[in-house]
Subunit: 153 residues, 2 copies
DNA sequence: CCTGAAAACGATTAGAA
DNA sequence: TTCTAATCGTTTTCAGG
């Protein structure tokens, strides 16, 4: 169902999502149509959930990033923080975590001032306390994934 | 030099990196060639640093993710942890941070056992202590960026 | 599930405003 | 920087193994 060829396709398209089918077909040694149907299948099954351009945060106006851990102020209230925060575009990721806090957010903002405002918005929107860790420098992120053992349906 | 059209292109291609030039041209209301030269310029300037397929971690064999904060055991030693960890494919991101620790890593692994091994590898490779926060659930990540004010050259 | 070929479509280039 | 138009390459579809 799903073998080293799919693995090779995933690896190639992880590195360059705009690769043409003919480029992929060269890379994996199969005909263009074979690659096309495999790619379509990977998309349908949700193995590939989308394609993103990676933008330079500096040039795009959000040079400052931070991790924000949040914990509910009132443990009795319904814990739907992810929903309540979804409208805040500055939040790039939201994970629930094991540890002191309940959630870990990753955010990008234009300035320290914008971070201050964002933290306030988060507190108000989700009724939580926050613990912010500012990122000083990003050495790498979004590294192309080298799938381990792509599983079938 | 760089206006709302570039902004629209970035927004569109952030959501679907495989969009064709004609799709983009429809989206922004410019001819295909105009979009093409703008896109090329955005790539050349590094505003767009690459294109990635987003894969489903579950289906790709790395269902477990975690944040790992690391701090040097010997503050006197040269602090080149990012280099010393770069070969570990499980590490998806590496940031230096302000706070208790020196660096924040984000990692993806197949299993708790693999996480155990990875943490050991990190300690050995970088001579650091670690503090691991396991991710229980990911509500969202890799959200398409809505650039704030794409800056020119 | 694969290949290969024809037709449709998209990308690229050149020339002009 | 933009457009149009011709050329070239890619994607899609389908017949066949």
């Amino acid at each position: 169902m799903d073998d080293s060829v799919d693995h090779a396709i995933l690896s190639a398209i992880s590195r360059d999502a705009r690769a043409t089918l003919s480029q992929l077909s060269e890379a994996v040694g199969l005909s263009v149509s074979a690659v096309q149907s495999r790619l379509k299948r990977l998309e349908t099954r949700g193995v590939i959930s989308g394609y993103r351009a990676v933008l330079d945060p500096e040039q795009v106006g959000t040079p400052l990033s931070a991790f924000i851990e949040i914990a509910p102020l009132d443990p009795a209230q319904p814990d739907n923080a992810p929903e309540r925060l979804e409208h805040l575009d500055a939040i790039e990721a939201c994970h629930s975590i094991a540890g002191d806090a309940a959630y870990m957010l990753f955010v990008r903002v234009p300035s320290p001032r914008a971070l201050e405002d964002l933290v306030r918005d988060i507190r108000l929107a989700a009724n939580v306390s926050t613990r912010t860790t500012v990122v000083l420098q990003t050495y790498y992120e979004n590294r192309p994934i080298i799938p381990v053992g792509a599983a079938g349906a």
